[in-house]
Structures are given as C-alpha cells and as structure tokens.
Assembly symmetry: C2
Homo-oligomer: 112 residues x 2
C-alpha cells in the first residue's frame, strides 16, 4: 500500500489499533477489504494507510477525513455498523479507536 | 506488541507512516528499537503502537504524548536527530509524519 496523499492540515484521522482473534480469517480479510473500498466512497474521505499485523496480532489502520461530521457519518453507515458488530463478536480480542485532529504534517520523499 | 494504555483524551498522537528502502536492515532494526526505548524515557510519553510492514514496505508507528511541547522536545533530542538523519539518508524511501490532537477514544476488550 502507498502512503496516503492528504491535503495540508487541519484534517482528521481515525487511528484504529486492534488485536485479532485467530477466528475466521477469510471472512475477516473479505470484510476488511470491503470496508476499505466502501470508506473510499464516503463524503469527506481523504485516504487510508494500513500496515501488516505483528507477531502478537497487532494491526494499525489510519483513515483520514475532511471533518468530524464525515467520520460520524461513516461510523453510522449501515454496512459499516454490521462489520463493527462482527468485529466485536468474532474478529477482535481488543481494539482502540482514536479520533484525532491533524494539526501539522511533514513529508519526505527520497531524492525529491 | 500490546495496545497502548492511554489516558482519557485530550492527548497527542504522532502518526509516522513510512516506506522502507531495502538497505541495512540490521542497523535499522537496532536503531528503531533504541529509539522506541529512548522515547519511553522522555517527559510526557504516554505509549507507542507499531505494526509490521506490509508487502510494499509500508509501516505505521503511532506514539502518544501528553502535550505538543513533549513532542517537540523529543523531536529535538540529539540521539533522535541522528536517527532521523539516518532515516532520510538510508532507510526510508518516503514518510509522512502527522501530529494530531486526540479528541475522543473508544476502547473494546472482548468479554470485558
């Protein structure tokens, strides 16, 4: 995955850090991909970055948004609500979701 | 790595997303570990979360801080400045560093 190309601050970030259960990996991967695609269609979406899980099952996904309202609307999207429920019922041992206002950003590109 | 145990908002997050070069992996891993340990000794440090790199070399590390001043002091720490320089010279193809104020947080622990 490339780095997200976000505008100059201020904008908003949703930092989602989670620990997976060992359950139902195929369903999880499918749903995670579906939610990433669906997020990209929402008003105010600016981009997403997601690494791989470490050996303990920790993964981080950060999505970027133009406003708090856009985050709230996406949080309440029906398909997303169903995925959130499946996440709590089946896929996550624990997670923390942090909503943050990006105040400053510094980029680096080699040779640029 | 476990999830970071952060206090109630507001607090600050530094979202560091990077793409690695294929260069000098042993030196990188050593320095990354040293910087994580050193960050943990700084005033205002609250915690850190770091996943694994994906197939494209994208990795995400988020560190949490009590104030903007704490972030600025860590950014200017001499050993950290040297590591930042090595990062730009050798280890990173590109990165984005975003400083954000965490306004809200929602946690989930299975069975809790």
């Amino acid at each position: 995955m490339p780095l997200a190309r976000t505008p100059d601050p201020p904008y908003w970030a949703v930092i989602f850090t989670s620990l997976r259960t060992p359950v139902d990996d195929a369903g999880y991967v499918q749903t995670a991909g579906d939610m990433e695609a669906l997020a990209g269609q929402q008003p105010g979406y600016l981009g997403i970055e997601s690494g791989a899980r470490d050996a303990d099952g920790l993964g981080i996904t950060v999505s970027y948004w133009a406003s708090e309202e856009a985050i709230l609307a996406w949080r309440r999207h029906a398909d997303h609500l169903a995925a959130q429920r499946a996440g709590r019922d089946t896929w996550y041992r624990a997670y923390e979701l942090r909503v943050a206002r990006v105040e400053r950003a510094y980029g680096f590109v080699k040779g640029a």
